[in-house]
């Protein structure tokens, strides 16, 4: 039976306290926080982090296809999933595809992954923006989640995939022009009524086709593009309210395409064996999916890695948040901006640049970057390291000065002088343990320069 072999989530480190918005923007905000992607993160980098976590949970599954969904693709024309593919060091034969532009696309990614013969990876990630002081700024959040789908022969199935109801409906309740920083919405009541009806239809279909009812549901997830409609459908579903999965709205916010996978992961992280989870996604129609956990669902890190990611955040000021998103134009450093990355040079160094592969020479020394004549290639992305020395560079160009730069010695050998991220300069100490994270160093001429940085290892990030 096809099912979920592993799931992984990624909540960016920074949290915006939404009660600070109104003072600046004149209105908006709310109680609680939203997750904020760093200035060096985008949907691709966060997707990589979530996918790395999912693959750690299902290490035996040899991924044969990759499906990447996002509303905020870093590239058009060019496929974004290929960078995820490269960072995960997947095989060349692993087909990698984007489903971009809509929240609903995530369910398409999952459906495609389920429909494949071999192990498949569905990844969804989003950086969700809205204009300052608007409701979307407070409703949205940034994050990613990934699911490894496969059969029992590919690993331990933690949840079997059951019935799936898909209803498509054309109406413009929420939309965004390409390359705009904001979504536009129709009058709220219209969507609430329309989604209310189609959401109930989808649940009815699901229960009928499986011979089940609301009482059989142990965890109900309702998410989508219309917050109020989701809450209303959950309330009227007949599923007891204590079985409705929290939508993470007060801490993370709605992460767009990532949110269905994120909430499914949240449910799996708390579920007991032999429980039923229903995922209902209200986005341009309705997608209802029933999954059934197996005893393997308990094979997970104690405490749950998403729970620990939620607890690991640090605040960011509203001004810096706006600057990071490009919504507040701040004076750039008075230094030359980075030149664009050479596509041909980058194309030659994919294992290093994207896969973070070093090499080992015959004398046993580890080389980062790899030496051209070393035969042994070493995957280093999951190696932890220690800060041997570091410096704070107030001169170097960075979109978020100052640059914190450390000499990192990796467990098992290898040294790299590398930029630190997700860190406050004053907190860095020699001896700090760090882990590698895939980031966007800069962008020039529309080319994003992806590479790795180090960040403090905080228990639970994995």
């Amino acid at each position: 039976m096809r099912g979920i072999l592993g799931y992984g989530t990624y909540i960016p480190y920074r949290r915006l306290d939404l009660s600070t918005v109104a003072e600046v923007a004149g209105g908006g905000g709310r109680k609680g926080t939203r997750a904020v992607a760093s200035y060096d993160e985008d949907a691709t980098t966060m997707g990589v982090e979530a996918a790395r976590a999912a693959r750690r949970a299902a290490p035996e599954a040899g991924i044969e296809s990759l499906w990447f969904a996002t509303v905020s693709p870093p590239y058009l024309d060019k496929t974004n999933a290929t960078a995820v593919h490269a960072a995960l060091r997947l095989s060349e034969e692993c087909g990698s595809y984007d489903l971009i532009g809509s929240v609903r696309g995530a369910m398409g990614a999952l459906r495609a992954a389920v429909g494949q013969p071999g192990p498949a990876l569905a990844v969804a990630a989003d950086v969700r923006t809205g204009l300052a002081g608007g409701p979307d700024e407070a409703y949205f959040g940034d994050g990613a989640a990934a699911l490894v789908i496969g059969d029992e022969t590919d690993g331990s199935v933690v949840a079997e995939l059951g019935a799936w109801v898909s209803l498509t409906d054309e109406f413009a309740d929420r939309w965004r022009r390409p390359n705009e920083e904001r979504s536009r919405v129709w009058e709220e009541r219209f969507g609430e009524v329309r989604y209310g009806a189609i959401g109930r239809d989808a649940l009815d279909h699901l229960f009928k086709s499986t011979g089940t009812g609301p009482d059989d549901v142990d965890h109900l997830i309702v998410t989508g593009t219309h917050g109020r409609a989701c809450r209303a459908v959950a309330q009227r579903s007949g599923v007891p309210s204590d079985r409705v999965v929290d939508d993470l709205g007060t801490v993370v916010g709605n992460t767009g395409a990532a949110h269905p996978f994120l909430l499914l992961s949240a449910a799996l992280e708390r579920a007991e064996p032999e429980q039923t989870i229903v995922l209902l996604v209200l986005a341009d129609g309705a997608e209802a999916l029933m999954v059934r956990t197996t005893p393997a669902v308990e094979q997970r890190p104690a405490g749950g890695s998403l729970a620990r990611q939620l607890g690991n955040g640090a605040p960011i000021s509203y001004g810096r948040y706006l600057a990071w998103r490009g919504l507040l134009p701040v004076e750039p450093p008075r230094r030359p901006e980075p030149a664009r990355t050479s596509s041909s040079a980058a194309g030659r160094s994919v294992p290093w640049k994207f896969g973070f592969e070093g090499s080992r020479s015959s004398d046993g020394a580890v080389h980062l970057p790899p030496l051209p004549d070393d035969a042994v290639h070493l995957p280093m992305a999951d190696a932890r390291g220690t800060v041997t020395t570091f410096t704070i560079d107030r001169l170097s160009y960075t979109p978020s000065p100052p640059m914190v730069f450390a000499v990192v010695d990796f467990d098992g050998g290898g040294r790299l002088p590398v930029e630190l991220t997700d860190v406050d300069a004053a907190e860095v100490r020699v001896g700090d343990v760090v882990e590698m994270t895939f980031r966007r160093l800069s962008s020039a001429d529309g080319i994003h320069n992806y590479f790795w940085k180090a960040r403090p290892y905080r228990k639970g990030d994995d």
């Binding site: 008075r334 030359p336 640049k353 020395t389 560079d393 040294r415 002088p417 930029e419 800069s442």
Partner: protein, 400 residues
Amino acid sequence: MGSHGIKDKVAIVGMACTKFGEHWDLGVDELVLQAAEGAFDSAGVSRADIDAYWLGTAQSGMSGLLVSRPLRVNDKPVTRVENFCASGSEALRQAAYAVSSGAYDVAMAIGVEKLKDSGYQGANAFPVPSDGTNRTVTAAAMYSMIVPAYAKRYGIGVDEVKQALARIASKNHANGARNPRAQFRKEVTVEQLLAMPRIAGELSVFDCAGVADGAAAAVVVRAEDAHRYSSSPLFVKGLSFVVGDGSGVSDPDYDYTTFPEVIASATEAYRQAGITDPRSQLAMAEVHDCFTPTELVLMEDLGFCERGSAWKEELSGSFDLTGDLPVNPDGGLKSFGHPVGASGLRMMFEVWLQLRGEAPEDRRISTFGARNLALTHNLGGYPGEMVSFVSILGTEGPGS
């Protein structure tokens, strides 16, 4: 096989150096002209007497045309060389070998850099198309890593290291203040230096070399011809150049308190020149103080003092003008300024002045008259991946 050096085979018979600084009214052409014509005059030659030119510049232009065009030199070889911040020294080294081989009778080495046309403060490397994974950290930040590393290795406080660094900057500013060609001619006290805001690690702007425009040039001939051009030539006693394999940046054993390339190049130059105790044999040294911690480490790597003692020696004034081994009597990169391709030849220009008694009295080295050998040290790159040049020059020729 082997490195043999060219001790006493080549002499410098004329030198010139422009004022270093912000030359808003001078371009590369004018700087080249000033330095070249000054060196022609110094050697008593005309440009027609020069058989071949070597030009050192890191990024102020390309090809020998940078010299041939402003000097209106036709039908002569002009070779542009580049080796990071040691490009000027590299030009001198190539010119010296060329005359030593007999290929040419008279050669000119010239170094030039026009840094102040970039529109940005600080020096910025020319972007080479890349895969985007190279470090973007500044040189100041890379060299700032020496400070905590040095403190840790020798069990002293970072504050003690900072005192020594401030003393280095203060010394070099005091020397530069007495040098009309220097970019910064203001004395700065240790207290003022310690109060500066930090820009990279523990370093302030005043721990960094001055970003300057400038040029310097030398005329070289075979030693046996030297007295036809100058009554007091400078003889080349040793020239060494070492390029590391860059493994330091990825070697977990590298600890940022020493530059192996410098040790190797100094060892080779001392061997060529027959120097066994540089501290007592050298009259002076011009070293590559691109950042104050660089000078600190160089004092040990060049063998001027014991490991772990440079900070104390700097504090006690051993390397002051009045010390027993004056270091950077012209102000160094710190206050003379660092027009990259010109700096190596600028160092030799100070040797030219000091050993031959032409340095002004208020900047004269304590060893003048007592010793007749001097060292210049010019490096490029970063801790762990650098190029290093050492020359030994002296006033006594082969016959004496």
